[in-house]
Amino acid sequence: MSETASADPSADSVRREVRQWLEANWDPNEDLVAWRNLLADSGWGMPVWPRQWHGRDLPQALAPVVDEEFARLGAVGVAKTGIRLLAAATLLEHGSDAHKARFLRRILTGEDTWCQLFSEPGSGSDLAGATTRADRHGDHFLVNGQKVWTTSAHHADYGLLLARTDWDVPKHQGLTYFVLDMHQEGVDVRPLKQMNGHASFNQVFFTDAVVPAENLVSAVGNGWQVAITTLMHERRGADGLRGVQRERDLPGRIYEQEREEIAVALEPYKWYPQRAGRVDLVLERAQATGRNTDPATRQEIAKLLTMARSAEWTARRARAAQQQGRPQGPEGSLGKLASSNIARQASHVHTLIAGANAMLAGEDGDLNGLIAEILVSVPATSIAGGTDEIQRNIIAERVLGLPKEPRMDTGPFRDVKRN
């Protein structure tokens, strides 16, 4: 069975309908937000969402048809950068109608940017061990504590906040899920510099930051269930690169605005390709330096390319299986683990190829320092987004069905050992 979408009886009618609508409405000189408001009104921006909330209730299998028609005309879609769609998916599933009315449209138009306030210095692999506290004071909560690894916090309007409201119950039961307004005095965002010199993430400090009770997304104490929704959507998006990138610079006001939006959103991610080891550069570097004639280096290159190609084919097998209607499993963890191995091997190969020049960086380094940046960025791959160890646990327990470890953190959270 091939990868392209199967022929569904209604695919043709959907295609006709969206094509007609786009031909009647699409204008590359429209203002970006105005156009997206039109998309939100029509439901064509998020066709699989419910009709009530800016969608058209289309089955997932028909979404590619709509995408194809947008692509055919080069029509811009709703905003998809950052974690906005994780926020939207979480609110659609767990938010009140008031939340949906207030937040969803501006998520789609790109007017509001969101960030995810889950990880903490003391709870990295163990997200449910969060110790940022939210204490009720009448109609609002006061938040105190610290989050970390928060991409885009410095220009986010809202944050998805997981905070502890009860210390006397087991840790998963004492968490609550809020929407937090980032524009307030009690929120202090500071960039977090990495070993490669970039600052892709932030630390966020809360000092009596205020969340009105109406911003509760979960019931009090029920935040972990909501967080799982967010994490599930995050993992689902992890098999490929997110974000729209147009093939060429198209003319028109709306494209200019979209390019600017994407540039801002991608800024924190600019070292991500380096982190992945830049497998694409290996052959040209080997040939340019003449290291392609060294048999030991050739073996290492072959191992790398073999891993990279096999991982790509594995991802495509998983996607094809999904298109046949099999449920998506934790293959994301396999892909993530493969990426770590590939990045590590790529870094090893780049070191072999660079030889003495592996000691240089910046303008003096190979490819104007890019190779050095690869060498000092790769170590993050096996940690960020869930360590290799966590991925192996997920694979072993959820795919292979191996038993869990005995737990030491089931009592009241107050008594659980933590830093």
């Binding site: 990868e3 050739r298 096999s310 795919v399 292979l400 038993p403």
Partner: protein
């Protein structure tokens, strides 16, 4: 390129798996590995006639079933899982070589006998130098007379029909390589079973002393290349099956085996080993299936993809074999435990048609690195 099987292909896999579960359980594998022939002729005929496994991927016009290498790969995955003892790999080598080297009519005549399981055939290629390519052939064809020795001939001890790669006097490299056909009982042929590390795959040495044979192709290097590419893909799929069987066995044992009051599979040392192994097996599976699809679709990159698949599947199978023994602990290296049967198949598969390191170098050459 297809990344999922069709429902028909899945049904074919189920049929092969059911058949093998029934006819090739470990007890039968143990019986046949001590058997001189190394297979059960009745079972093999049944596999040919009911499942069409004798020449599955050979075009119908050339005496085969007309399926693709994709289906061949499915069959090999299952045969590896079940550690089948049967002349299936020798049949792939023989029928592919004949289908590639002979004209359609002659091919149909020869292959159809193999396809129904009545004739066993073997490709005699490798010699004392241990090479698996046309360039390594040293056995001399002087007119229609063959002189020299072949070794590592898969099922060469039981095949009646021998397809022999020979070299014209004075030629070098891939030039002057012919394929000859000769019955195993022709005067001047001596053959002898070799003792193998993996008793489930029998090999023979065959000596030719001025043996009269019939030339079926006088420029056989391209046919041999194609044959070995297909055979590498088939063995890669087989090794994926071997690796999967070992992984499943390890995981099952890790769930059951208690030490220190817990299933050993709850210890991260074991758990993470299994996770890493699953990743490696899944990557190898993707590589082997992609190579099979590439052969099916006539992808000119097949030589590279076949080497990639063979190297990856070998490494995965050996790792699975080592780890499966390790996870079983002491019991894992006893004779009565079945793990070593798969271990030995993986080990012999590592060397068959070239080691992983050799295939990686070949991959780099194919890709002109």
């Amino acid at each position: 390129m297809h990344f999922a099987f069709t429902p028909e292909q899945e049904q074919f896999r189920d049929a092969v798996r059911r058949f093998l579960r029934d006819r090739s359980p470990p007890a039968e594998v143990r019986r046949l590995m001590d058997d001189e022939r190394g297979h059960d002729p009745g079972v093999w005929r049944q596999m040919c006639q009911e499942l069409g496994l004798g020449a599955l991927h050979v075009p119908e016009g050339r005496g085969g079933q007309g399926f693709s290498v994709t289906e061949l790969g499915i069959a090999f995955e299952e045969m590896g899982r079940a550690l089948l003892c049967a002349p299936y790999l020798s049949s792939v080598l023989a029928t592919t070589a004949i289908a590639e080297a002979c004209g359609a009519d002659e091919a149909e005549q020869i292959v159809s006998g193999i396809a129904v399981g009545e004739q066993l055939a073997a490709l005699a290629l490798t010699e004392a130098n241990g090479r698996w390519d046309a360039g390594g052939v040293e056995l001399i064809a002087d007119g229609d007379r063959l002189s020299g020795s072949k070794t590592h001939v898969i099922d060469g001890h039981v095949a009646y029909l021998l397809i022999v790669a020979a070299r014209a006097l004075g030629s070098t490299g891939e030039e002057g390589i012919s394929l000859y056909l000769v019955a195993a009982d022709a005067p001047g042929i001596t053959r002898r079973s070799l003792t193998t590390l993996d008793p489930t795959r029998k090999l023979a040495r065959i000596d030719f002393a001025n043996v009269e044979a019939r030339c079926i192709s006088s420029d056989a290097a391209p046919a041999l290349r194609r044959t070995l590419d297909i055979a590498c893909v088939a063995v890669a799929c087989e090794l994926v099956g071997v690796a999967e069987a070992l992984l499943e066995s390890a995981v099952d044992y890790a769930k059951l085996r208690m030490q220190f009051g817990r299933a050993v599979g709850s210890f991260q040392a074991i758990k993470h080993k299994c996770a890493d192994l699953l990743l490696e097996v899944e990557l190898a599976k993707s590589a082997a299936r992609y190579a099979a699809e590439a052969a099916t679709e006539g992808d000119p990159d097949l030589p590279a993809l076949a080497s990639l698949a063979k190297a990856t599947a070998s490494d995965a199978a050996m790792r699975a074999a080592r780890e499966c023994i390790q996870i079983h602990g002491g019991i894992g290296f006893t004779w009565d435990n079945d793990t070593h049967l798969w271990f030995k198949r993986a080990k012999s598969g590592e060397a068959l048609f070239g080691t992983p390191a050799w295939h990686r170098e070949r991959l780099m050459q194919c890709w002109e690195v």
